[in-house]
């Protein structure tokens, strides 16, 4: 079984490459596959291995740093940060609104209430077992 944590770029996808990189890293951090303290490859190394522009990887790393998943360490890569101990009320409210918007878009796209719940539970199940220490 392959235990390496891999990021894969689908060139035929409509999703921008930086968003694909950020999404995969984000989900791996949230699921615990990338533990806090782990240092991801430097921008140049990851860009070289993926064959993408340096700015593409840099943009993904900046986005994840803004979201609180990474701390960029200049030339030596980006360190995975641990989840916050206490949820900030303002952040929780902002994320709740984003969640509400996503759920509304799913209903508007034609999913039933049950289907939306199923999708949400699948995503929560992927995060299961990775509870931040409190």
């Amino acid at each position: 079984m392959d235990t390496a944590v891999t990021v894969l770029i689908d060139w035929s996808s409509a999703e921008p490459v930086y968003a694909q990189i950020a999404r995969q890293i984000r989900s791996r951090i949230a699921s615990g596959d990338l533990a806090p303290g782990l240092v991801l490859p430097p921008v140049r190394g990851l860009a070289s291995d993926l064959g993408v522009n340096l700015n593409t990887v840099a943009r993904a790393y900046w986005l994840l740093e803004e979201e609180g998943f990474l701390k960029i360490r200049s030339r030596s890569g980006a360190e995975v940060t641990a989840p916050l101990r206490d949820a900030d009320p303002a952040t929780v409210e902002r994320l709740r609104q984003q969640l509400a918007a996503a759920l509304s878009r799913m209903r508007q796209a034609g999913l039933t209430h049950a289907e939306v719940r199923q999708q949400a539970e699948q995503e929560l199940a992927a995060l299961a077992g990775h509870e931040p220490e409190r």
Partner: protein
């Protein structure tokens, strides 16, 4: 007698290098057929096997023809000047056979969307570059030492200085003393020593082309291959630098009448270097395979990814051109080692600088001579 020895040595070299060329398909990564990505299943199929057998037959015949033609010509016109003929014939035949196989393999290339790109976020970082840095430092030190030695004895040199030495080490060509004729060898020592060290460093950071899934096996194989190539280039670089340094100093001493011929140590190192370079190539090819192909057998049915698997970025299967890829060195699709990304201006600039320095120094010496 010297001519016969030289001819024999050249023929042995042709057989050895021809033998390595012959083995190239055995080094290749599964899925790559004579510079074309055909997919892992087609690679193992009957048509691919037919193309590969054609290569083996063609190379054996061509090597034999090269040796035969060269031997006939030398027996008719025994001259050292004919020595380059055999290697040139060999390379011409190699290219012709490769292109024939390439165009046959291209017909097997798959249609469809470009392959995905993959990278491992938990891959080990590149090894400490101390060996390549040592190689660069060694090149600088030896080059500067050779230049300093030549400069410090320049005034004492006679009007005519030796510019070429035979197999016995005795000088067999003389030219009027000039800055170019005296400094050519020390300058080449510096340029070659530093360049090979830089190439070793770039190799240690070369792009990894993984298989997906089973990236863990693939990245481990790639990393080991990259480290082996780095050690090989660093070692060959330092040996070549030492040989050139001893030759540069020895040629000055011959000109001053302090020695009769080139240093025996330099001659020995030259022989060891040739054997080591050839043996190292064969060892890496058979032990690791190109890109670690022999180490990633457990993962070899998983598809290759990214630029190595994308036929759009390869010209004749030999030249990689991808402007979006920041990599300077990428794996060869056919053969052993790495090639530069011609779509990366830094890679092209480095290549032009290296070749330009060598050509410039050589032309300057020829003009001065």
């Amino acid at each position: 007698m010297t001519t016969e020895i030289f001819v024999l040595a050249t023929l042995v070299e042709v057989l050895l290098i021809g033998g390595i060329f012959l083995l190239y398909p055995r080094f290749a990564r599964r899925g790559l057929l004579f510079g074309v990505y055909v997919g892992e299943q087609v690679w193992a199929g009957d048509e691919a096997g037919r193309i590969t057998r054609g290569w083996y037959t063609g190379m054996v015949v061509w090597i034999a023809l090269t040796v035969l033609v060269s031997a006939v010509l030398w027996s008719a016109l025994p001259s050292v000047a004919l020595a380059p003929l055999a290697p040139i014939l060999l390379v011409v035949g190699f290219l012709a056979l490769y292109l024939r196989a390439y165009f046959q393999a291209r017909a097997l290339a798959p249609e469809g969307p470009p392959p995905p790109a993959a990278a491992v976020l938990t891959a080990p970082p590149p090894a400490n570059p101390i060996l390549p840095f040592t190689s660069v430092g060694f090149g600088v030190a030896c080059g500067v030492a050779a230049l300093a030695y030549a400069a410090s004895h320049y005034a004492d040199l006679p009007p005519m200085v030796p510019t070429h030495f035979g197999l016995s080490g005795a000088p067999d060509a003389w030219r009027p003393k000039s800055f170019s004729t005296v400094m050519l060898l020390p300058l080449m020592t510096l340029v070659i020593g530093v360049s090979l060290g830089v190439i070793a460093f770039l190799t240690s950071r070369a792009k990894r082309a993984l298989r997906y899934p089973l990236t863990e096996v693939s990245v481990a194989a790639q990393t080991r291959f990259r480290e082996a190539m780095t050690r090989y280039i660093s070692a060959v670089g330092m040996m070549a630098t030492l040989m050139l340094t001893l030759m540069a100093i020895s040629s000055i001493r011959v000109a001053l009448g302090l020695e009769r011929g080139l240093s025996p140590v330099a001659m020995i190192i030259a022989g060891v270097l040739l054997v080591a370079a050839l043996a190292g190539t064969v060892y890496i090819g058979l032990r690791y395979g190109q890109g670690g192909s022999r180490l990633e057998r457990a993962a070899s049915r998983a598809p290759l990814t990214d630029g190595l698997a994308d036929n759009r970025y390869w010209v004749l299967g030999m030249f990689y051109v991808n402007r979006d890829d920041p990599a300077i060195l990428v794996e060869h699709r056919f053969g052993l080692g790495y090639t530069i990304n011609l779509g990366n201006w830094k890679a092209v600039a480095l290549f032009i600088l290296f070749i330009g320095l060598l050509i410039g120094i050589t032309v300057a010496a020829l003009v001065a001579g």
